[in-house]
């Protein structure tokens, strides 16, 4: 390898075209080819020389990165005047241009207006150098404090969990010796037994110091407590603290036990909090979660497909939890699925099975579809699209048939919107252009016409976005626990969408004070108000504010609803601020500022019958709610 590199070094020199281009830039028109060659050799040599000297300065500056000041100093050594005006920026982007058969790499030199510089407010004064002392080691033992790196790196954790025998060298040797012996002795039983004995994993200890125990207590209390600010802090700590390795088993047990208990008690809020903990754990770059997936995945799957997750299925927004958990599931599939554990295929199988089952509840059905859909467009294409007709028929039976129960109705509606949301973008990509409602109906059944309009919308959206490539887009890295809102807006974005990142296109103004034409960029903070259709006075709404800052998690606050009758899920109030007037019974989360879509929405929602959930139905559902986390039985490990 070194050889190859060295041989390359020998031949590297600037191309003669560059010489020509540089000569032209200083006004020398015709440069002989020979002089170009001579120049390029000379210049290459000098550049190498200067780079070598600059390296010296980097070494003495105790840095790993060569800076422009190093090059300035190297030039000074050679008595060459350094280049003025360069700030050692992190990165100077090179631009590329070609034309007239020539290719050029250059970086943009913008003309700087001095008055602009003078008038810009001074940047904040950087913090002064300060000295901080900590114990790196106490009598040979490194204390685990935040100033020190985590005791076990991620690679180490991985090595420990995947190849426990490699860590213990003596064990390995023993194994080899025994294999040799096994060949000579004819007793296979004996050999197997011995092997089994040796294969025992070395016991890893997870001793917690008093500080760690206190920390664990504080964190878990804050995570499931009532104070939202504290919870945000605790989650932040879980997501960033590098020293949690020792506590990981406790957290994992805490989550899995928590889900088990709260599913039975239908405590939606707690389930959400626990899922947010899972999310935070997964966000922590120093943790290697693979060891604990056997506890975490069942918990997450439970939150996706459980028949009932809340006390009042007709009112509470358990759909958001399912969406969120589905996204978590997809993320962990992406991160942890390997050929040996097959997480993704096992999850897919489980979800498909419940989807194919006729007797599946609408809630579980929603969950399995959401779970599958999050796994990517390929999964949608192969597993969901073929089912569209069947699901359409089922939805039609509920929607247009005799009124069975409000809960079924809501469930069917959610499944419908979910299918439309996920399938439209996929269909838009795989289906050729003319979108004819009739054709869609023959292909996809009951959902056909609606799909058709969604696909059309998706296409226009895509076209719009293609035009507005350079517009600022609002990127939110948080999982959108309630972002089923952007049903149509997203369909335009090309490529498989990563589950945790959504780009809200600028044309999509959600609940903005002004109605806004599609071309107007959205305001930095957008409010979503999410509630369930409620009959009871005690129902709660979740107001989720997505701010433009990427790191901020959506602040979920619960607002007690004042009205007793039907609640609008999302208030669409052009012109005014977000208020809570119960003017129109909207059944959807979709708030799109496109005038056409808004009107269609209105018309659609007015068509939909808005029945009030009745007590008996409620009770009926309570009777048949899932008694245990059903999905956990099918979980891996």
């Amino acid at each position: 390898m070194a050889e190859e590199r060295r041989q390359k070094q020998c031949s590297v020199s600037l191309p003669t075209e560059s010489m020509k281009a540089m000569a032209e830039s200083v006004g020398v028109g015709q440069l002989q080819e020979e002089s170009c060659v001579a120049l390029s050799e000379e210049v290459s040599y000098r550049i190498k020389e200067i780079a070598q000297d600059a390296l010296k300065f980097m070494h003495h500056g105790k840095r790993r990165k060569l800076t422009t000041s190093d090059i300035d100093n190297a030039l000074k050594l050679k008595n060459v005047e350094p280049l003025y005006g360069f700030q050692s920026q992190e990165f100077i982007p090179f631009r590329f241009a070609s034309g007239g058969g020539r290719e050029l790499h250059f970086y943009e030199e913008k003309e700087v207006d001095l008055s602009d510089i003078i008038n810009t407010p001074l940047p904040r004064v950087p913090l002064d150098v300060s000295l901080k002392a900590h114990w790196l080691s106490i009598e040979g033992v490194q204390p685990s404090i935040p100033e020190n790196p985590p005791p076990a790196s991620k690679e180490q954790q991985k090595a420990e969990s995947t190849e426990p025998l490699k860590v213990v060298k003596p064990g390995q040797e023993e194994k080899g010796a025994i294999q040799g012996k096994g060949q000579s002795t004819p007793a296979p039983d004996n050999k197997g037994k011995e092997k089994g004995l040796i294969r025992l994993k070395p016991r890893s200890t997870h001793e917690l110091s008093v500080e760690q125990q206190l920390y664990y207590k504080e964190i878990t209390e804050a995570c499931v407590g009532s104070c939202e600010a504290k919870r945000a802090e605790a989650l932040q700590s879980i997501a960033t603290d590098p020293g949690l390795y020792q506590m990981l088993p406790r957290f994992s047990t805490f989550i899995s036990e928590g889900v088990r208990v709260n599913v039975v008690q239908n405590n939606l809020a707690l389930l959400i909090y626990l899922m947010r903990m899972v999310k935070a754990l997964m966000d922590n770059p120093t943790l290697y979660l693979e060891k604990y997936l056997h506890e975490l995945i069942p918990a997450v799957v439970t939150c996706i497909v459980s028949k009932q997750l809340c006390l009042r299925p007709d009112v509470d927004n358990h759909w958001a939890l399912r969406d969120f958990a589905a996204r978590l599931m997809a993320q962990s599939c992406k991160t942890f699925s390997t050929t040996t554990n097959n997480i993704q295929s096992r999850i897919t199988k489980t979800l498909t099975k419940s989807l194919l089952d006729d007797k599946t509840q609408w809630t579980t059905r929603y969950g399995s579809i959401a779970g599958l859909a999050e796994l990517g467009p390929d999964v949608i294409k192969t597993l969901i699209l073929p089912r569209l007709t069947v699901e359409g028929a089922r939805i039609k039976a509920v929607m247009e048939g005799p009124v069975v129960s409000n809960i079924d109705k809501i469930g069917a509606e959610h499944v419908q919107s979910l299918l439309l949301k996920h399938c439209a973008s996929v269909i838009a990509k795989i289906r050729p252009q003319p979108d004819i409602a009739e054709q869609y109906r023959t292909d996809y059944g009951y959902l056909g016409p609606m799909l058709c309009s969604h696909v059309m919308k998706a296409r226009t959206q895509a076209a719009l976005q293609a035009q507005q490539v350079n517009r600022t887009t609002l990127t939110i890295t948080q999982p959108r626990s309630t972002l089923s809102v952007s049903q149509s807006g997203l369909s335009g974005s090309g490529g498989p969408r990563t589950p945790s990142i959504i780009k809200v296109p600028s044309s999509l103004t959600l609940m903005s004070p002004r109605p806004g034409t599609p071309s107007q960029p959205s305001p930095p903070a957008t409010k979503y108000i999410v509630m369930g259709t409620s009959s009871g006075a005690a129902s709660t709404q979740q107001v989720i504010t997505l701010s433009s800052s990427q790191s901020a998690s959506p602040v979920t606050s619960t607002v007690p609803s004042a009205t007793s009758t039907l609640q609008p899920l999302v208030k669409l109030e052009p012109g005014g601020g977000p208020g809570l007037t119960a003017s129109r019974p909207l059944q959807k989360y979709i708030v799109v500022s496109l005038p056409s879509s808004a009107s269609s929405l209105e018309s659609k929602s007015s068509v939909l019958p808005t029945s009030i959930s009745s007590a008996p139905v409620d009770g009926g559902i309570k009777l048949e709610r899932s008694e245990s986390p059903a999905a956990s039985t099918q979980s891996p490990h």
């Binding site: 070094q9 020998c10 050594l77």
Partner: protein, 745 residues
């Protein structure tokens, strides 16, 4: 382009300048001695005549050369002074002065034989002048053109590959025991053949030659090969200092007699004159009798820019013992008493302590005489400090493999990649940082804040007779935890506190070394001499003297009250990257980018040890507290241990993965701590590393040691920081390890 050439001319001038003080360093013993003496206040004149100056004919010759040089550069006054000081007759100068006075500074070739120029050329021998045999010295010419013209001999360029390949085949076919030894000639031969091709304008042949054979060279020469690969034209050779060095200094190989005979016979049989000429002219083959060395033995010692050290180079006697500690009249108190009274020393214990002291402090046979180097006299404050030191050392923790030190890490926050140097005072009360933005900052790490001395007007008002006058002169209004020192105009690369904590030295990219007062927090002196960046500086353990080393390839010894250097240690072939005083202040060790370490005698200015074995620029050096051993760390991530008395490598500590920037022995020498760019502090069992030595007569005589690969056993601990390179280490007097570095997010 013009500017670049200007730079080259400058470099040449610099080279000329270098020669003057260099000769001054090793030639003019007598003059230097008297100079050293006169500077150190109070020390007797006894040391002055310790070495007869004009005795040896060799010295005389050197002196003549210096005089010649001075005349040539029209420095007649200096020449006159030198002549008088050396006690030479006046006519020495006159006859020869006439013919060389005409040639100016320009440095054009005036090498037409002649007594004067022959002498002149001797002076420029960069290697330890005194140690070199005088016969070879004449061959090295001072002028660039002359140096290069040695390549002008023509051979068929097309045959170079054939020659080289033939030799390669031959060496591959010889017996195993000789193969490793003979393989050593590949690299220097390769370089010289390549340069010959380039010099004679056979560009394409040179390129082909390089491409074909560069892959065969040892991996540790990669940096040099990179420089070589860029060099494809004759014109490039003029300014390239590395190449010039390769030419002027012979590459040293150590080969056993048997192997050498084999090679010689082969080359003579084949009439392979091209290669034979190169070996004759450009290589120095140090032939020894006995067993050929093994591959690992050779690899351990090679890697330096100029090959291994010649055996003679390391033959000089080094007084590595420690100086006798001065008797301090105030004996130590017992623990219970020391807390109460500092002043009233109990008289009854005095005799007992004295006897104990004199017993333990018998003169070490390996120690230099107390007055070999004039040292400043102890002041009262120094004595107090010594007493504090002794008290602290009674509380020192005994370290060992089972008793590792605690490490306290000082992290510099918000340094924005700018921290370039750190130092801590011996009593661990102050910590100083040098920064890339040219500032030096001093922090107090004790509750005692940093205060300035009052202004002159205020000082007048103070009662000078009072007991606490030292306290009264301080201005409480200026108390703060840190102070910033402004003055340099480039990044500060080296920093060092004086032992008495009154001064601070800093060396910078701007070519100057500055002395700062820690009483007034102002700059006292700017020492100018290095024209190029000064990479490192350090105070002597007894104060007063300090050493600096920089890009101009020389290390200089200074005294704080002289604006010019007392000694110039010239000999390294590349930048002097670090410099350290021996604990007895009689020697200075320097590490360099030429991957060698040299030990210099402060008294004579001679190079007394050349230690090769590192495969990258040396960035850290540390003497063991007993003065016997030296540890060095380089960019190759290895720590090498050296026995100074024998000039032998005695250990290799592998483990770091990046440049080692700091090394430090614990106060008793049991533990070696190393800090690196790879964000770790590692602790090594130094006692075991030095105890395991088998120093029988043979290894001592030939220098062929077998290094066991026992790094893993010697490694006692590895402590990762959180993305903070460790650039300084310091053991407190109680053996607590302090480490420092800048957080680098």
């Amino acid at each position: 382009m013009a500017a670049v050439q200007g730079g080259m001319v400058d470099a040449k001038d610099e080279a000329d300048i270098k020669t003057e003080p260099a000769s001054d360093g090793f030639g003019n013993n007598h003059a230097n001695d008297s100079r050293l003496l006169s500077e150190s206040p109070g020390s007797s004149a006894a040391a002055g005549n310790s070495k007869p100056a004009a005795g040896a004919p060799e010295d005389q010759q050197t002196l003549l050369a210096v005089l010649q040089f001075l005349r040539k550069n029209k420095l007649s006054e200096s020449a006159e002074i030198l002549r008088r000081e050396a006690g030479l007759p006046e006519e020495v100068l006159d006859p020869k002065g006439a013919d060389s006075a005409g040639s100016g500074l320009g440095g054009s070739a005036d090498v037409d034989g002649g007594d004067a120029s022959a002498l002149l050329s001797r002076v420029t021998v960069p290697a330890p002048g005194g140690a070199k045999a005088p016969t070879k010295a004449g061959e090295d010419q001072p002028d660039v053109n002359v140096v290069l013209s040695a390549y002008s001999q023509q051979g068929d360029p097309a045959l170079y590959q054939v020659y080289y390949n033939g030799l390669k085949k031959f060496i591959e076919s010889v017996l195993d025991c000789h193969r490793a030894e003979l393989s050593q000639v590949f690299y220097p031969l390769f370089v010289h053949m390549y340069l010959e091709l380039v010099y004679n304008n056979h560009e394409s042949e040179a390129k082909a030659f390089f491409e074909r054979f560069s892959g065969d060279q040892e991996c540790y020469y990669e940096d040099d090969l990179r420089i070589l690969s860029g060099l494809t034209k004759k014109e490039h050779m003029r300014g390239n200092e590395t190449l010039l060095d390769f030419r002027t200094s012979k590459f040293v190989l150590r080969i056993s007699r048997d192997s050498y005979q084999l090679l010689k016979r082969h080359l003579q049989e084949r009439q392979n004159n091209q290669i034979w000429n190169i070996i004759q002219e450009h290589l120095y083959i140090d032939i020894f009798d006995g067993m050929p060395r093994s591959k690992s033995q050779i690899d351990a010692m090679s890697g330096s820019l100029a090959g291994e050290a010649k055996r003679e180079a390391n033959k000089a006697k080094v007084y590595y013992g420690l100086l006798k500690e001065p008797e301090i009249e105030l004996p130590l108190d017992d623990e219970d008493e020391e807390a109460e009274n500092e002043e009233g020393k109990p008289k009854k214990k005095k005799p007992k302590k004295d006897s104990a002291g004199s017993k333990s402090k018998k003169q070490d046979p390996n120690a230099p005489s107390q007055t070999r180097i004039p040292l400043p006299e102890l002041k009262d404050s120094d004595k107090l400090d010594k007493i504090m030191y002794m008290k602290e050392s009674t509380k020192r923790i005994r370290l060992g493999p089972d008793n590792l030190p605690s490490i306290c890490f000082y992290t510099f926050l918000n340094a924005y990649q700018g921290l370039t140097a750190v130092d801590v005072t011996d009593d661990s009360s102050l910590i100083a940082g040098g920064f890339a933005d040219s500032t030096v900052r001093v922090w107090s790490v004790t509750p005692k804040k940093l205060r300035k001395v009052k202004t002159a007007a205020d000082l007048n008002l103070i009662d000078k007779e009072s007991d606490d006058v030292l306290e009264r002169i301080m201005d409480d209004k200026t108390a703060s935890e840190s102070k910033c020192l402004y003055g340099h105009t480039g990044p500060v690369y080296g920093i060092s506190f004086s032992p008495d904590r009154n001064y601070l030295l800093s060396s910078s990219e701007d070519g100057s070394v500055r002395l700062w007062s820690l009483l007034t927090f102002t700059c006292l002196v700017g020492y100018k001499g290095h024209n190029y960046p000064v990479w490192d500086t350090q105070f002597s353990p007894y104060g007063y003297y300090f050493v600096s080393g920089g890009h101009d390839r020389v290390a200089r010894l200074w005294a704080t009250d002289h604006h010019q250097p007392l000694r110039i240690f010239a000999g390294h072939l590349a930048d002097v990257t670090c410099s350290r005083f021996h604990p007895n202040a009689n020697y200075v060790a320097t590490g360099s980018s030429d991957r060698a370490i040299r030990l210099w005698d402060v008294l004579t200015g001679n190079c007394v040890r050349i230690l090769t074995g590192h495969k990258g620029p040396v960035h850290a050096l540390a003497f063991s507290p007993n003065g016997k051993f030296l540890a060095s760390g380089a960019t190759d991530g290895r720590v090498l241990l050296w026995d100074i008395g024998h000039g032998l490598m005695v250990g290799e500590l592998k483990g770091h993965t990046d440049t080692i920037y700091s090394l430090r022995f614990s106060r008793d020498g049991e533990i070696l701590a190393s800090g690196s760019m790879d964000n770790t502090v590692r602790l090594w069992d130094a006692t075991k590393a030095f105890d395991d030595l088998e120093t029988d007569d043979f290894t001592a005589a030939t220098g062929h040691i077998h290094l066991q690969d026992n790094s893993q056993e010697l490694l006692l601990g590895t402590y990762m920081t959180k993305s903070t390179p460790v650039i300084h280490l310091h053991f407190t007097r109680r053996n607590l390890l302090l480490a420092a570095g800048a957080y680098n997010p």
